[in-house]
């Protein structure tokens, strides 16, 4: 620890000797003249009211559909039959037959479909937020 402090102190001393890079001459004037060309302060929030309303409505709709509406699909999701196995015996035949039988025999459980939909939703939200934050200069993608 003592060694580390010593090193820190020496490095700090050396760096202070070098100092900061000096911004070019007339830097402030150049910036201010660029600002004068377009002096508008952008006060639109990162997520517009519309986006917030869409997110809240989406969440509310999900809650209503899952917990309040009696849909046989969701009854199956949470029942023991909802979880079915996927046939993995697909590759014993030729490629074309395998591909066509793959989709024929693809028997994903409803929970799997829900997970896939949720992942897709998350990816879309992630892309939307990244785009907004990158535009604001607050995130590097």
């Amino acid at each position: 620890m003592e060694n580390q402090n010593k090193r820190d102190e020496s490095i700090r001393k050396l760096l202070r000797q070098k100092g900061l890079e000096k911004a070019p001459d007339n830097f402030t004037e150049k910036v201010m003249s660029r600002i004068k060309v377009n002096p508008v302060i952008d006060d639109t929030p990162l997520l517009s009211t519309g986006t917030w309303i869409a997110i809240i409505l989406g969440l509310a709709a999900m809650i209503v559909v899952i917990f309040m509406v009696d849909i046989p699909f969701f009854d199956r999701v949470f029942s023991s039959e909802g979880i079915q196995k996927v046939s993995m015996n697909l590759f014993s035949n030729g490629l074309v037959e395998t591909m066509s039988s793959f989709f024929k025999e693809l028997n994903l459980s409803s929970i799997t479909w829900m997970i896939m939909a949720a992942v897709l939703g998350l990816v879309l939200i992630d892309r939307l937020l990244r785009k907004r934050f990158t535009q604001a200069g607050l995130l590097v993608v």
């Binding site: 900061l20 911004a23 830097f27 402030t28 600002i35 302060i41 995130l139």
Partner: protein, 191 residues
């Protein structure tokens, strides 16, 4: 002229007094330019980035929530702008090379540094900084030169605290190792 704090000028800018932004530019231009230089390694690009940073900061001032200090917010914009700029040019050196450090004799190095004059010390540290990856140069500037605490460095760079600490530890070792190397060569040259 009396120096006011950042919030005073920010308040004035928000009330439509555009010229009140100039003292903020004056106050932080050198460190913003240094961060841009650390990452772009080129004066023209660094100037362009630094100007864009202040322009963006001005335009997005309404979005500055004062959760962090104004300079921290500004440096984060600078860091992101500079990284975006060099990503476009695809010249980012992301990681420290894995180096095996030899045991460094602290006292020896410090004595040798003390034996250098001011100009030589500047040359030595410039040479060492040039060899560091861009992100580490920013960490060194913020931590050593501007005495930023680690948590604020995390805010600026978006790196995790443990990551910043590990990087600083490795950079510290690397700077010492480079120092020793340079000083050894100087001694051989003099002899």
């Amino acid at each position: 002229m009396e120096k006011r704090d950042d919030n005073h000028y920010i308040g004035q800018v928000m009330m439509g007094e555009t010229a009140a932004f100039a003292p903020l530019v004056n106050r932080y231009k050198d460190l913003v330019f240094t961060i841009a230089m650390n990452i772009t390694r080129n004066r023209e690009d660094a100037e362009e980035v630094a100007q864009d940073v202040f322009l963006k900061a001005y335009q997005k001032l309404a979005g500055f929530r004062k959760e962090s200090s104004f300079p921290t917010w500004l440096y984060r914009i600078a860091y992101n702008e500079a990284i975006t700029k060099i990503r476009k040019n695809k010249i980012l050196t992301l990681d420290l090379e894995e180096e095996i450090m030899e045991v460094i004799a602290e006292e020896e190095v410090e004595e040798d540094i003390a034996g250098l004059d001011e100009q030589e010390q500047k040359q030595v540290i410039t040479k060492i900084l040039d060899k560091l990856p861009e992100i580490d140069r920013v960490l060194v500037t913020l931590f050593y030169l501007n005495s930023h605490p680690v948590n604020e460095i995390c805010e600026v760079t978006g790196l995790r605290e443990s990551n910043v600490k590990v990087r600083l530890h490795r950079v510290r070792k690397r700077i010492y190792s480079e120092l020793q190397e340079i000083l050894k060569k100087r001694v051989l040259r003099i002899n």
